[in-house]
């Protein structure tokens, strides 16, 4: 079992209007996990993230980072190791050049200037935006700003990276770029939490999904478990990923044998359809028939 990074116990947080944004949240986060945080608008996801990073102080409950309880004194350690990429890059970008912006976090960590410069170069190269170094953020496009805001956090070398609805407002090409970056970060063993409304993305990317509903965690498990649980889906106003729906449909029509081996990607689905275990025809179907199956 991987080591625990964060231990969150009984977190309560209210915004002062009476309703609790977080209503007793407990969760453990382990090294290298890829977690999707899902739930409808106002379910408490963003509040949860801000609490995790120490920007908001919970009314009740505690956060343990690597075994030590977070208090006012070691708050900086928590912030240093948990980076948030905010939903709206314009709410995050503060400096007037890309370089100064990406250097803002490392400068606040009071690192020596050479180290800061090195980290900025690395982060910009990582996000493929080294050429934009001297550009001001107000002349960048939405996708470019998103990259800058991710580079911001990469430069801080935090252990956990939180993405608050990263795909919101991105065009398909930039969304794909983002997914590539997530894949790259994942392959380096970074722990990531992503809040999103894109269930298809959760299904293909996440190893673990946490479902928020009215300030509580109502489910915590693999995406497959969660998306099979109709009760939870209904409660959190979620829908099933297309891939699962299509699989179930094929099973229902007796075109596929029900092995519960839900395919994760289109490629895996193709292989599934191509293999000889099709329910209707145990023997390998001729080309024409196979085409028909796909068409349904």
């Amino acid at each position: 079992m991987a080591e625990t990074i964060l231990e969150i116990r009984d977190l309560y947080y209210g915004y002062g209007n009476g309703t609790a944004a977080l209503n007793g949240v407990s969760v453990d986060i382990y090294e290298g996990e890829k977690i999707a945080v899902i739930g409808s608008n106002g379910a408490g996801k963003s509040t949860f993230f801000l609490n995790m990073n120490g920007v908001l102080t919970p009314d009740q409950g505690k956060i343990g980072y690597r075994g030590t309880i977070v208090n006012k004194k070691n708050l900086k350690e928590l912030r240093k190791n948990i980076g948030i990429v905010f939903q709206d890059a314009d709410n995050q970008i503060i400096a007037s050049t890309v370089m100064a912006e990406v250097g803002f976090g490392p400068m606040n960590l009071k690192l020596p200037k050479e180290e800061v410069l090195k980290r900025v170069e690395e982060a910009l190269t990582y996000m493929n935006i080294l050429d934009y170094k001297d550009r001001p953020p107000h002349y960048l496009s939405g996708g470019e700003k998103k990259r800058v805001s991710i580079a911001d956090i990469i430069a801080m070398k935090s252990e956990i990276i939180i993405f608050d609805e990263p795909t919101a407002g991105l065009d398909p090409l930039n969304a794909q770029m983002l997914e590539e970056v997530l894949g790259k970060l994942g392959s380096e063993g970074k722990t990531m939490l992503i809040s999103t409304h894109d269930v298809d993305f959760v299904y293909r990317w996440a190893e673990r999904a946490i479902v928020f509903c009215q300030g509580r965690i109502i489910a915590d498990g693999t995406p497959l478990e969660i998306f099979q649980n109709k009760e939870i889906l209904k409660q959190a106003n979620l829908k099933q990923p297309t891939m699962m729906e299509v699989y179930d449909l094929l099973v229902e029509k007796h075109l596929l044998e029900d092995t519960k081996a839900y395919p994760v990607s289109t490629q895996a689905f193709k292989e599934l359809l191509g293999n000889p275990y099709l329910a209707s025809r145990p023997e390998k179907p001729p080309e024409k028939e196979k085409f028909k199956v796909v068409k349904i």
Partner: protein, 289 residues
Amino acid sequence: MSTTIVLKSGHRNGHTHGDGISHRHHKIGHKHGEGSSIDAYSYASKIRHWNPAFKVSLSMLTLVLSIVLNNPYVSLTVIMAMAYLTIIEGGLSIQAYLSILTIPISFILLGTFTIGIDFSTQPIGQYNLHLGFFYVFTSQASLKLMFFLMLKVFAAISAMEMMTLSTPSSEIISVMQRARVPKLIAELMNLIYRYIFILIDVNIKMRNSANSRLGFCDIKTSWYTFGKIASNILIVAFKKADAYYNAMEARCYDGDLLFLEEVKKVEKVQIAKATAFIIILILLWAFTR
């Protein structure tokens, strides 16, 4: 009318601003929103890589000299030298440069006109013009004074423009910071500079959505919509400030705005040239006094 008060940023397409600039000014004369194009010019300038402290101090020194020396030859030299720096070295198009210089022209004309001419009920002065009840009169000496004053003001302005058209605001602010301008002011300037563009964007979006719902169909409605947008922007500004603060805190901000800056070396040749230029100005003044 209320609609003309609003700045229009012409740089919505971000990264292409480098090529966009040259097409925008077909004729001399400024449009609203010139403020943000000056910003874009400064990023596109070919002398942007020069040390900002060098540019700021050269421009300031030239500004002070052209005012203190009060000499038309010095003013002319400054105007030409600064135009050379901005257009030839900086690579700004002549049209764009002239169009920026026309912004202050009405102020200068209004200011100097009253020095050049005078009113009287008697036909006095070297030249006078009878206008019904009174005479407008002037003399060669006062016209000369007016002309020299205009030259002086233009020299001062072109020295400032050389700086603003080649140095992005963030660099100017950091030079000020090193010149011991109070930290609070410098940090505020940094934040305001970044914020202006965000609020302009918000404003454009709100205006467009109001426009699409006939919010500017007549003057009365326009005023009403303008007020609504203004108050809404205030609320958005508060919200954004909150979100900003959160984002800054999340990245370990603890009271000091620290920005990374690139060190731009100042070349000895540049210092030598600048010194020569200043000496020439002073000599010019000494010989034509």
